[in-house]
């Protein structure tokens, strides 16, 4: 796609072992266009967080390293830019909100100053940095932004801290926002408000959003398109409505079935996927989902499928067409 703002091409990430590198992200292709909201869904160990960290060259190296692949921001390969340019991109053009907000803030510095520091390091004068900090703290729905600005992290609740992190990410008006499970700790009413806030900001700025989550409900309410990850690969790509109406990978289908729906009977057994997610360093040949898959056949043990077009914009890494399930 030529209109991609951020494009991850054939990304492979390895973890160093005594016998060499084990691949734990195995050829991920993901791209987002300006104004697009892309959900990245996967369980722990699926490689979703590592993929996002690799975008900003934040992988803990060693033992982790990018084995090959390209990260293109408007065509510029971030793997080969110098440190000065990388600092401009990080927190400037691409901002990231992390899973654990408490550990991403300095406990000894007032939160307002931490946001101002981010702005100043991206070239803002200190007065305008302060005004902008007030503005973004108000935007994320904090009732008393002035009090929050002057607070230390420990004086704020988890929900407030998470809003502060989102404010910090939005302060520099990034072109790409990467949010890694930023709302898991929040009450549903606040989650919803943050999702709506991000959507409204997007409408005015054309920011692209990568929303990493394991919660399909969040995906349904926020994003346009979804990439489902399993064992270090993207196993399904679809528009959000297609994904829910007609999942084309058995894993996606199983995930959807395991949620208690509004129609499911009280205390009736929920659908279980069975088994556990595989250890990405010990995959062997064949499709990594086959051991948990109700539709697995011989072919699935022999070769791992690439993404196959299943119509209406859905791609799935599965040998079987959903009509044969």
């Amino acid at each position: 796609m030529s209109d991609a703002l951020l494009e991850i091409r054939d990304l492979h990430i390895g973890i160093a072992r005594r016998h060499g590198d084990d691949e734990i992200v195995r050829g991920v292709n993901i791209s987002v266009a300006p104004g697009e909201k892309l959900g990245i869904v996967g369980e722990s160990g699926s490689g979703k967080t590592l993929t996002m960290l690799a975008v900003l060259r934040l992988l803990a190296s060693p033992p982790l390293s990018v084995l090959r692949g390209e990260i293109l921001l408007d065509g510029e390969d971030l793997a080969h830019v110098d440190d000065k340019r990388l600092r401009e991109v990080r927190g400037g053009e691409i901002a990231m909100v992390y899973q654990d907000p408490m550990s991403s803030l300095n406990p000894l510095v007032r939160v307002g100053r931490q946001i101002e520091e981010t702005l100043r390091s991206h070239g803002a004068a200190s007065e305008s940095a302060q005004a902008r900090t007030r503005e973004v703290l108000r935007q994320v729905g904090l009732a008393d932004p002035e009090r929050v600005r002057l607070s230390y992290p420990h004086q704020l609740s988890g929900g407030m801290i998470q809003r502060v992190m989102i404010a910090m990410a939005l302060a520099t008006s990034p072109r790409v926002l990467i949010a890694d499970e930023p709302t898991t700790a929040l009450d549903v009413t606040i989650q919803r408000q943050i999702l709506e806030l991000v959507t409204s900001l997007q409408a005015t700025t054309g920011m692209a959003v990568l929303w990493v989550t394991h919660d399909l409900g969040v995906v349904a309410s926020l994003v346009d398109n979804v990439a489902v990850m399993y064992a270090g690969r993207v196993v399904e790509k679809a528009t959000t409505s297609q994904l829910f109406r007609r999942p084309t990978h058995p894993y996606t289908k199983a995930l959807l079935q395991s949620l208690p729906g509004l129609g499911s009977a009280h205390r009736s057994p929920l659908h279980q996927i069975g088994g556990t997610p595989p250890d990405p360093t010990r995959l062997g040949a064949g499709c990594p989902f086959r051991v948990r898959c109700p539709y697995a056949e011989e072919k699935c043990a022999q070769a791992e499928p690439e993404l196959i077009d299943r119509g209406e914009g859905s791609l799935a890494a599965c040998w079987k067409d959903p009509s044969q399930w």
Partner: protein
């Protein structure tokens, strides 16, 4: 007569207040009855007091005031001996199984330790360990594993087995599935339902995940800033929610259905996060869309609106059904 496994009346917990510290009413006059063999669900956002409630019920902390009765017996939670006496009857399962298991103890050792502390099954401990593991759906080979060799779901199963080791009557489950992957949540919920039926256990199920609470609970209480604002049977609370906060929570549940999702209207309620308790009036008033002057003047009390369905809201009480 309803057979009550646990009855808490007017539990209040106040933190701070000494030497000019701010007083925080973490729990404010909470009463609830757990009918034996059923599940009581507690819903609320972080900071609503649901974890404080859990800690009071299992005796990790003493209430500032209020009374706790288990099996009809009053528990004096300020007494030291109360904790072991309580432990035999009521156990707590935490959100994060890894932080509640000792990383240097194998599964077997962790389970044996509990049996030793409570002097149970002196001659048949090894068999009991195997039995506990099978109860939570783990094969005997898991006995030799350390916590880091377990997946999240397996570790939570071990934590549940450990809680069951001393044959309690009540399990307090504080967000037992929130730290788990989506694909294993259903397994743990199914496991909890099965064990409950087999052992006739009583559950207090605490979660911010409304769809899970609705799925598993017979009775539900919705908490807001330390108070119960609505209480009733699960179908009452979910089909005909009375309190504006419960309604807002339900409107906000992200549904796994984009069609439905897009057709929904935003509740139009102020979602500003609120951490400070109001000096007077209804605690929810600053966020409420239906707020009236009387809500700011005085706090409503939890009152019965219809058969067993209680709400703490002036507006809901006045509304004709």
């Amino acid at each position: 007569m309803v057979d009550l496994a646990l009855s808490a009346s007017h539990l209040t917990k106040v933190y701070g207040g000494q030497r000019g510290e701010t007083r925080v009413n973490a729990l404010n006059d909470v009463s609830l009855d757990l009918e034996r063999g059923t599940t009581f669900g507690i819903v609320g956002e972080s900071g609503c007091g649901k974890s404080t409630l859990a800690r009071l019920l299992v005796g990790l902390e003493a209430p500032t005031s209020g009374e706790l009765r288990i099996d009809g017996e009053t528990i004096v939670t300020s007494e030291r001996s109360a904790s072991r006496q309580l432990a035999r009857k009521i156990q707590l399962v935490f959100q994060d199984p890894f932080s509640s298991l000792d990383p240097r103890m194998t599964v077997e050792k962790a389970l044996l330790e509990v049996l030793k502390v409570h002097a149970l099954h002196a001659d048949t401990r090894a068999e009991r360990v195997a039995e506990l593991l099978s109860m939570v759906g783990l094969t005997p080979r898991f006995a030799a594993r350390y916590p880091h060799e377990l997946s999240g779901g397996q570790a939570q199963r071990v934590a549940i087995a450990r809680a069951l080791a001393i044959e309690p009557e009540i399990l307090v489950l504080d967000e037992p599935t929130s730290a788990l992957d989506v694909s294993v949540r259903a397994e743990i919920i199914n496991l909890l339902v099965r064990i409950q039926d087999e052992l006739k256990l009583t559950y207090l199920f605490i979660s911010h995940d409304l769809s899970m609470v609705r799925h598993i609970s017979e009775d539900i209480a919705v908490m807001y800033l330390g108070k119960v604002v609505e209480k009733g049977r699960y179908d009452q609370v979910f089909v005909t929610p009375l309190h504006p906060y419960t309604q807002a929570l339900e409107d906000a549940i992200p549904l796994p259905d984009p069609e439905h999702e897009r057709s929904r209207q935003s509740a139009g309620v102020s979602m500003h996060v609120q951490v400070e308790q109001v000096a007077q009036g209804c605690p929810y008033a600053p966020r409420c869309a239906l707020v009236q002057q009387r809500c700011r003047d005085a706090a409503p009390v939890l009152s019965e609106k219809s058969d067993g369905h209680l709400v703490s809201c002036f507006v809901a009480m006045d509304a004709t059904p």
